[in-house]
């Protein structure tokens, strides 16, 4: 009798195990289920005509907040100095200390790292484009030609002397969108406002930074090459104060 019971029990266990195996996906879904619904709708706002001659694109990768941490700086020591100071933080702290102070403040509010070596970061790719805004450059060229014409009227022909133009400038700045496919780092636990705050922080610092002379030189040289290719005229660069 006991032997029969054992056999029945073994068969039952085998059947249950087999059923569980066959319906493993359904069982797993019963235990853990994740549903994602998402969508978006677009509205066309309007069109804008521009005339920008882009000649150099500089791509920066910034690790926020770590790239703004100043070696040896302590947040609370900086905070004390800001509290004790009678002037605003921008005047009490050096630019690098201010970046450290504001980066830690921001990181803390977003749940990111507040000290070096701590996890919790975002890698942001920004592209800064340099070149010439032709809508601004053209009146400049016109006035330079008019000036030459006033000095020597016969010189105003397409083969006339070189036209002085200012150095290239920063035209635009953009942040690359990140997705699972092209972001090989840790998850980014930020909402839309958090992402906006981090990218704004980085953009402001890029804009505030003095542009690298080499970059401006390269952008100007390429700009002159392009203008010469487009107009068959010669251009040369002059600093805004130079004549």
């Amino acid at each position: 009798m006991r032997r029969v019971l054992s056999i029945v029990l073994a068969v039952l266990v085998a059947l249950v195990a087999g059923a569980l195996f066959l319906a493993r996906e359904q069982v797993a879904e019963l235990i853990y289920r994740e549903t994602v619904s998402s969508g978006s709708e677009s509205l066309f706002i309007g069109a804008q005509d521009v005339a920008q001659l882009e000649t150099v694109a500089v791509v920066y990768k910034t690790v926020f907040p770590h790239d703004y941490f100043l070696e040896g700086a302590r947040f609370y020591a900086l905070l004390d100095r800001v509290r004790d100071g009678e002037a605003p933080a921008e005047e009490v702290l050096t630019p690098a200390e201010l970046d450290h102070f504001q980066a830690v403040n921001l990181a803390q509010s977003l749940g990111l790292a507040t000290t070096p070596g701590e996890p919790g970061y975002v890698v942001v790719t920004s592209t800064l484009r340099y070149g010439y805004d032709l809508a601004q450059l053209e009146p400049h060229i016109r006035s330079e030609i008019a000036r030459t014409a006033a000095d020597a009227p016969a010189a105003v022909t397409p083969d006339a002397e070189t036209i002085p133009i200012p150095p290239a400038e920063l035209l635009s700045q953009e942040t690359e969108d990140i997705t699972q496919d092209d972001y090989p780092y840790s998850p980014v636990y930020l909402d839309a406002e958090g992402w906006q705050t981090v990218t704004r922080f980085i953009s402001q610092r890029h804009q505030r930074a003095q542009p690298d002379e080499d970059i401006i030189d390269q952008a100007t040289t390429t700009g002159i090459e392009l203008l010469e290719a487009l107009t068959n005229r010669s251009f040369r660069v002059v600093e805004p104060t130079q004549r």
Binding site: Y32, T35, S40, S42, L53, K61, T231
Partner: protein, 213 residues
């Protein structure tokens, strides 16, 4: 007296052996975990070091921008044994720019009329979509809900990318490329007249044929 030789603090030496072995094993496990953590941190550090600054030379004439406003929604819900165990939901709007222009690196041909030095013929590359860019400054967040787990922006931005692709297609449908062409014609024509040419004729090269594999 014999018992004293085999006990320490009232416990047999053989039992102390197991206690010590247990402590050693615990310590080893702790050290192993810590070292694994350090390895992970090192790997992460190497990845971050790979992040660099690059300078690219471009030759682009940007002539037209179409702006879109997108309202994006994302909702992830998890259930364990049928019981709600987490929800991450967000609703926000963002503006996206579709930019069109000419890639002048493809070449610009100028022909000056030999009989009239003030007449010029220009051949430019055909316009194309230069880029589609999200304007983070325009983000307006309407709601965010995070229960038992945080929202991962990487999941949400997949939806932003889908919106960008949709806007690109819509902009082409709305004629961004022909507008970019007429604007390029106006910009280059005006520039050439400014430098002294009186008659300017601009043509565009046909777009390169799409190669299908």
């Amino acid at each position: 007296m014999g018992d004293l030789l085999y006990t320490v603090y009232g416990m047999k030496i053989s039992r102390w052996f197991w206690v010590i072995l247990g402590l050693v094993l615990l310590a080893s496990a702790g050290l192993l975990t810590a070292s694994l953590h350090r390895i992970e941190a090192r790997v992460d550090q190497r990845r971050l070091e790979a992040a660099q600054t690059t300078i690219q030379q471009v030759r682009t004439l940007v002539t037209t921008r179409y702006r879109y406003r997108d309202v994006v929604f994302f909702d992830r819900r998890t259930r364990v044994l049928g019981i709600p165990a987490g929800q991450q939901e967000i609703l926000f709007s963002v503006e996206i720019d579709v930019t069109a222009g000419l890639d002048l690196a493809q070449g610009v041909d100028l022909d000056i009329d030999p009989d009239d030095r003030r007449r010029i013929y220009v051949t430019l590359p055909s316009p194309h979509i230069v880029r589609v860019v999200t304007d983070e400054e325009s983000i307006r967040q309407y709601l965010v809900r995070e229960r038992f787990g945080r929202l991962n922006w990487l999941d949400v931005s997949t939806e932003v990318l889908a919106a960008k692709e949709r806007n690109r297609a819509d902009a082409i449908e709305r004629g961004i490329l022909s507008r970019a062409e007429s604007q390029a014609r106006a910009v280059i024509g005006s520039l050439l007249r400014t430098v002294g040419y009186e008659a300017v004729e601009i043509r565009f090269r046909p777009p390169p044929r799409e190669v299908r594999g």
